[in-house]
């Protein structure tokens, strides 16, 4: 049905389609009218999402996929005359990468659809769409690449595009201030990553993750590189104590950008997991690094939710919740890492904890994206984000209210929504590891519910306020964007076992299984 030439080059198209669309957007904007350009961007995003879905289907059915850039036959990562060294830039897409690409595809498409309406009143939309597409390129590249320097380049692409998008409402000084903060920290993080990459290259003479993982000695320099990588990537994914850019950037960016920045942060989280599990794995002291990740996870959960409670700006409140939810993922995967060396513990609860953490990544991307989009919809109609000035919007914005309820219940972990499914997996498995951590996680979940009840009450409930008498429902494009995410939230909530078995478990085992990652690139060495 689909030509072979596409099926054989899916990893290349995953990057090439949004990149080509991004480069052509200014030209099309200048030649055609606005409708043509909007249709072009939407089509490009739909194609990217379709490529991501096809790629995921291929990876889940046929196993890890390797794509060599610049090679006459992309399937062969190690050229015959290179002496067993992969010399080119190689995309190594295992189940975990495909899983992340799938998230980026779904969220990317829905935020683009949402932007069609929500950004229609702002100027400079060509640059906005171009940057949004480039941000997608950066995220997709980060999760797919098997090359350390390439990872750094895509990290910088996503940081630059993200920072420019955060500051895109230049008419307000604060947005630029938030963009500046984000850009400075991202650049600093990127330079730390590059320094670590240089340390690794200096020792092993290669940039390929599989080759470095194969030869890893865990010398002192490797430890320095590990610390640099973990610090930089934890900062980029917004974990406490390096979270201070998150509320600013998330609350000041336009809502669709924020929804996608969540995915960009998760790509950094993916990078963190990839470094720990694939690059270092067997050489690590599991419980030490595992406990380190658990501690920053628990800190993120607690600090995030306590900072969220007193907030009055709805976007800022949700941004702190994003920090708090990142903690769940770190907790789940950290527990998995802490017991990685122990076969019995791993099979009793370690793998479940990791699956819970990874399942939470996709769930969080969906419901947090949905919540940011609803906040944006309220802002679109009322022009304020202050909770104290809103009220009674449920009378006029029924669909937005429904979507908000779905998102809020999902984030608070109420059945039958998807947040419950992943949180339950984390509670159960972490309880076996350390009951105290599990109790903290539950308390945080209750506080999250309390916080969202407050938001729901002050935004949608109550009598209709006179100043919002004429407020209408948001345009159809925005409803479509929110609807896609809400649908995913509900479907994942109703059939969690199918999703866990089909999507999450292969991703978790791909992350744990370092040797098959190495073998897929280097062959059976």
């Amino acid at each position: 049905m689909i030509p072979d030439i596409i099926m054989h080059n899916l990893p290349a198209f995953l990057i090439a389609v949004p990149m080509f669309a991004a480069f052509a957007t200014p030209l099309i904007g200048r030649l055609g009218n606005e409708r043509v350009r909007d249709a072009w961007v939407l089509l490009a995003m739909a194609l990217t999402a379709a490529v991501a879905v096809l790629l995921a289907a291929q990876v889940y059915s046929a196993g890890t996929l390797v794509y060599t850039f610049g090679g006459a036959s992309p399937g062969i990562p190690v050229p015959a005359d290179s002496g067993g060294i992969p010399v080119r830039i190689i995309f190594t897409i295992d189940a975990m990468s495909a899983f992340m690409a799938l998230i980026a595809g779904i969220v990317g498409f829905s935020v683009t659809a949402y932007s069609m309406a929500s950004q229609s009143r702002s100027s400079g939309r060509e640059s906005y769409y171009m940057l949004l597409l480039l941000l997608t390129v950066g995220v997709l590249g980060m999760v797919c690449t098997g090359d350390l320097f390439n990872f750094f380049v895509f990290l910088e692409i996503s940081s630059l595009a993200g920072a420019a998008l955060v500051a895109s409402r230049v008419d307000r000084g604060v947005a630029v201030e938030a963009g500046l903060k984000y850009a400075v920290l991202s650049t600093l993080g990127g330079l730390l990553v590059l320094f670590a990459v240089a340390l690794l290259y200096g020792q092993y003479g290669s940039l390929n993750m599989a080759l470095i993982a194969h030869q890893m000695q865990f010398t002192v320099l490797d430890m320095v590189a590990l610390v640099l990588l973990v610090t930089a990537l934890a900062m980029k994914c917004g974990a406490v104590p390096m979270h201070f850019w998150t509320p600013d950037a998330y609350s000041m960016a336009p809502a669709p950008v924020t929804a996608f920045l969540v995915v960009a942060s998760q790509a950094s989280l993916y990078g963190l997991f990839r470094v720990v599990f694939t690059l270092y794995n067997v050489t690590l002291n599991y419980s030490l690094v595992g406990w380190f990740i658990i501690i920053i996870g628990v800190l993120s959960m607690v600090v995030g939710v306590t900072m969220a409670l007193p907030q009055k700006d709805v976007m800022r409140l949700m941004a702190y919740h994003a920090v708090s939810q990142t903690g769940y993922m770190l907790l789940g995967v950290g527990v998995g890492l802490a017991v990685l060396g122990d076969e019995t513990l791993m099979s009793t609860f370690g793998l479940t904890a990791m699956e819970g953490g990874i399942f939470h990544i996709i769930n969080h991307a969906m419901y947090k994206g949905l919540l940011f989009l609803t906040a944006g919809a309220v802002f679109y109609r009322t022009g304020t984000r202050n909770l104290n000035q809103m009220g009674g919007l449920g009378h006029n914005m029924k669909w937005t209210m429904v979507f908000f309820i779905i998102g809020a219940l999902a984030i608070a972990g109420i059945p039958p929504f998807n947040g419950f499914a992943s949180k339950l997996m984390i509670y159960e498995s972490v309880f076996l590891f350390n009951p105290f951590l599990s109790i903290i996680a539950m308390v945080v979940s209750i506080l999250t519910l309390a916080s969202f009840v407050k938001v729901f009450h002050s935004v949608f409930m109550g009598p209709q306020l006179p100043e919002y008498q004429d407020v209408k429902e948001v345009p159809a494009y925005m409803l479509i964007g929110m609807g896609i995410l809400a649908l995913v939230v509900i479907v994942f909530g109703l059939f969690p076992q199918v999703v866990v078995d089909g999507l999450v478990a292969p991703a978790a085992s791909a992350l744990v299984d370092q040797s098959s990652y190495i073998a897929s690139v280097l062959g059976g060495i």
């Binding site: 030439i5 200048r30 610049g70």
Partner: protein, 154 residues
């Protein structure tokens, strides 16, 4: 804000030389140190020189912002299309599909010491030219935006 006549005349005279030198660096990117980014940056410094001598507005009338934006888009598209053609030919993304084919830039490299032949290296010179066009457009447009922002502030 105009500089003195001497500065303006010298800038006018040296601009074509800077341009030629920039193009030389771009086109010889695969043979000598340099390449698309470096050459494009050299050309952009030529535009900086003109702006410094004649003032932003006078230059922007001749070399408009739209022209530079179009140059940027053209360069980017040329780059990615060159990379995509490899897929259409059944090879990997970014494969050097022109090397050693005898077509444009397709002469095989002669063995042994030599000064190098411009007509070699396949898609690399094409990508260098694309990057050169992109960088000269991008750096100049950054400069234009910064200058217009500074003028508004004044």
């Amino acid at each position: 804000m105009n500089m003195s006549r001497i500065v303006r005349t010298v800038a006018d005279i040296s601009f074509p030389f800077i341009l030629i030198y920039g193009f030389y660096i771009v086109v010889h990117g695969h043979l000598t140190p340099g390449g698309g980014f470096q050459g494009g940056a050299v050309i952009a410094t030529g535009i900086v020189l003109l702006v410094a001598a004649h003032g932003h507005e006078a230059v922007a009338r001749q070399i408009t912002g739209n022209l530079l934006k179009n140059a940027e888009t053209f360069g980017l598209l040329l780059f990615i299309i060159t990379a995509l053609i490899a897929i259409l030919l059944g090879q990997g993304f970014f494969t050097n599909w022109l090397a050693n084919t005898g077509m444009l830039f397709g002469t095989p490299v002669a063995f042994g010491p030599g000064p190098g032949d411009l007509n070699t290296a396949g898609v690399i010179p094409i990508m260098n030219i694309a990057v050169g066009i992109e960088v000269l457009g991008a750096l100049s447009i950054i400069l234009y935006y910064m200058l217009s922002g500074a003028q508004e502030a004044r």
